[in-house]
Amino acid sequence: LPFDFRLPDVGEGIEAAQIVDWKVRPGDRVDQDGPLVEIETDKAIVAIPSPTSGVVLRLGAEAGETLRVGDVLVVLDGADGGVAHEDRSQTDEIDGLAAGAAKAAGRPLASPAVRKLALERGIDLTQVEGGGPHGRIRRTDLEGVPAPASPGPDVAPARADAVEPLRGIRRSIARTLTHSWQTIPHVIDYREADATALDALRRTLRDSAGEAGDAQLAGALTITPLLVRMAATLLPRHRSLNAAVDMEREQVTFHGSIDIGVATATSEGLLVPVVRDADGKSLRAIALELAELAPAARAGKLTRAQLTGATFTVNNFGALGAWLGTPIIGPGQTANLGVGRMERRAVVRGDEVVVRPVLTLACAADHRLIDGDTLASFVTDFVRLVEEPALLLQELR
């Protein structure tokens, strides 16, 4: 018949003890003097054997709980013996599910197809930052993620290489540019433009703002806002340069607005703040906006919205000293106009060699949509505006 086995007095004046580890579970058969439980007093851990043979019906306390001497430790069916039975498979099921909970906590947020792709490419998903909601890893997030290098020859390099993870803006730039460079066939039109008139206009405008006491505007009137204004003026007539090609759907989007990104070097990397609806803004407004955006970009204060969604990009790499560059087209765009450093150069006018300020232009376009003649037509118009900026007046509404 069932009987209660109570926590015995284990001596030394102990009144209570904590259950450390049960050696049996309900349903288990236990032999007389067989291991039953380990308890911990404030003196020692003591193993308590079963007082009789029988079947465990109920445990008086779980591991970690404390019992006082005399409390029921375990209920045993100690008579001629019940039959021990245990349900192993169910226990496994519980263990399996509990293990699942632990696993679920650290697992990358990725669907089976993405997990399979990562496996095939040898990508460790725990190291991939997901671009989806709440960090979900999408198939596109795996693009540009390098597979771990296969172990090379087992020779220590003379000087250790520094291996650092790509993070933050750098990683974002790396992914974006890899994607652009790998997917967009670039066609580039290189030109030189006589910037005499442009330079004169810029000086006139700046001096005029200075004389009017508008130091802010005077400082903002670099060559970049003029170039942005010119692009904004021309793009409505060259809509394929203000567009996007989607090869998955095999369609072209001609952007409804003209949002011009201006490539800006920052300590973290290249950022492209965007002047929205540039075609509807005056030169003054564009100049002032750029004068605010560029320092804010360098200070890392721009929002994602201010840094994405350009429909065309102007890249004044001349500010970095470059004479000529190779612009790379950004996502969602079909063109990037690079502008080199304005330099006084020897040029031929008539039969004379004369010295003129010269601006080099390198306009990259997405060849999938834009052929050389289409691109040349835009660049020719642009060069004309640079050389005769007074035409801006005619173009302006």
Partner: protein
């Protein structure tokens, strides 16, 4: 050396043709491997394994019969009167055999189409790269293999003082093969097998009692899931003795003991369903250097590899003993052994119980999610709110969604009610796709269906912002 010991060479040797083994064999053959499948054959084996021959499929056939009979006698819909419904178990057995044979032929054709060789016999490893198969005719065949995949499954665990005798003390296999409904059935073990078969026999007219050592039925599942099943057992007049242990047969009865003392339940037949033990004890595993743990299970990695050349899948590995888990692992093992990157890393393995009402669960329960340290949000929608459930006449149950607020994703779904076994697949997909409750809410569910339960529960976790 006798001629018979001349070893044949095998590229990939698959041991066991159950839902794990045959799926693995077919996948490996697809990948260009030369595959030999060894299966011990009837009664517990054969193409499709225990699942097809003596498990999943036959038990579902019996449950369907019992449900139809129950429905005929006590219609759950209004306006139906049926007289003279009668159960003909021999006719049922013939129907069941036809189903099993047809499905087994399907497996046979699948393997034949992939060029898989099938050998019937009991396999035992005898060298690190060799196995001997005892054929039914007493002869032996030797196979020298490059790789082996162990998919030998499990068998019902026995209770020492109640040894299976095939007459009175029965395995689930025996009960599923009965051609007469016993007057009384004592079920030892209130796990899913015991309850599924116990309820079915109760519907067919047996006086059924259940003895369970734990303090509730379905101890492996979340407690809330078991409650409607307890009510279902009560409706069928099934006597349940919890926190009780079996003492032994006592005349026509089965004696049990618990804290209150002893009792007996009527036991013309006894079903012992206390779990399953892996079939790893008679495989000669030491010869190939693959150890088993105390429970007889083989340790494997994510690729299901137990060693460089030996994989193990299904019930012989740790985890829930479920056919669909074995099949999924079989694909992984076949690919891993064939040099294709693969890992068994499901976000959830659905578990389903064909009790009345049905239970289905995938992913984490609320308790597991809290223990796992998630930012838990839980909602439960009772089946009583479902118009479709009302017209089916079965509205005891619920749908529960467990979500994580910080990642905004569904962690687990539990369901109790009609067709829960069918409905859980959507929840499983949601969890695998890292869906948020809003993803489920934003997906139109057809009306009127039981699938609206998941939609309604998810919608409560994805409140739409109030209009500003």
């Amino acid at each position: 050396m006798v001629v018979g010991e001349l070893a044949e060479s095998a590229d990939l040797l698959v041991v066991g043709a159950g839902p794990g083994g045959y799926v693995a064999a077919a996948r490996a053959a697809q990948l260009g491997r030369t595959v030999t499948v060894v299966d011990r054959g009837a009664p517990e084996g054969g193409l499709g394994g225990a699942c097809l021959h003596v498990g999943c499929i036959p038990s579902k056939a019996l449950i369907e019969l019992a449900g139809a009979y129950e429905h005929a006698r006590r219609p759950r819909v209004g306006g139906l009167e049926l007289d003279g419904a009668r159960v003909d178990l021999p006719a049922f057995q013939a129907w069941k055999r036809a189903i099993v044979e047809r499905l087994a032929t399907g497996v046979e054709n699948l393997l034949a189409a992939q060029g898989v060789e099938l050998v019937t016999g009991a396999l035992r490893f005898n060298k690190p790269d060799q196995a001997v198969v005892a054929l039914p005719d007493g002869q032996s065949r030797y196979f020298e293999f490059e790789q082996a995949l162990i998919a030998t499954g499990s068998r019902p665990a026995s209770l020492a003082p109640l040894p299976f005798d095939g007459e009175r003390v029965l395995t689930s296999t025996d009960v599923l093969g009965l051609d007469r409904v016993p007057g009384s059935l004592a079920v030892v073990g209130a796990g899913y097998i015991g309850l599924e078969i116990g309820q079915a026999l109760a519907k067919l007219g047996s006086q059924v009692s259940v003895i369970e050592a734990a303090d509730r039925v379905l101890p492996a599942l979340d407690e809330a899931l078991a409650e409607p099943v307890m009510r279902g057992l009560a409706r069928l007049g099934v006597e349940v003795h919890l926190s009780s242990v079996v003492v032994g047969l006592d005349g026509d009865d089965l004696a049990y003991a618990n804290e209150e003392g002893r009792g007996t339940v009527p036991a013309e037949r006894v079903l012992v369903a206390i779990g399953r033990v892996p079939n790893t004890d008679d495989l000669g595993l030491p010869a190939v250097g693959v150890p088993v743990d105390d429970a007889g299970l083989i340790a494997v990695d994510e690729r299901m590899l137990a060693s460089a050349s030996i994989a193990a899948i299904g019930d012989v590995t740790s985890g829930p003993a479920l056919a669909h888990r074995a099949s999924a692992q079989g694909i992984v093992a076949a690919e891993a052994l064939s040099g294709v990157p693969a890992a068994f890393d499901p976000a959830g393995v659905p578990a389903i119980v064909f009790t009345d009402p049905e239970i289905a669960s995938v992913g984490l329960t609320e308790q597991q999610a809290r223990a796992g340290g998630f930012d838990v949000a839980v909602t439960t929608v009772p089946l009583a709110a479902s118009g479709r459930a009302a017209t089916i006449g079965e509205d005891d149950g619920f749908t529960r969604v467990v979500a994580d607020r910080s990642d905004d994703r569904v962690l687990g779904v539990q369901m109790v009610g009609p067709h829960a076994s069918e409905l859980i697949a959507e929840a499983t997909l949601a969890i695998e796709m890292v869906a948020s409750p809003e993803d489920l809410r934003g997906t139109i569910h057809p009306h009127p269906t039981l699938s609206e339960g998941l939609h309604a529960a998810a919608a409560r976790l994805a409140p739409r912002p109030a209009r500003r």
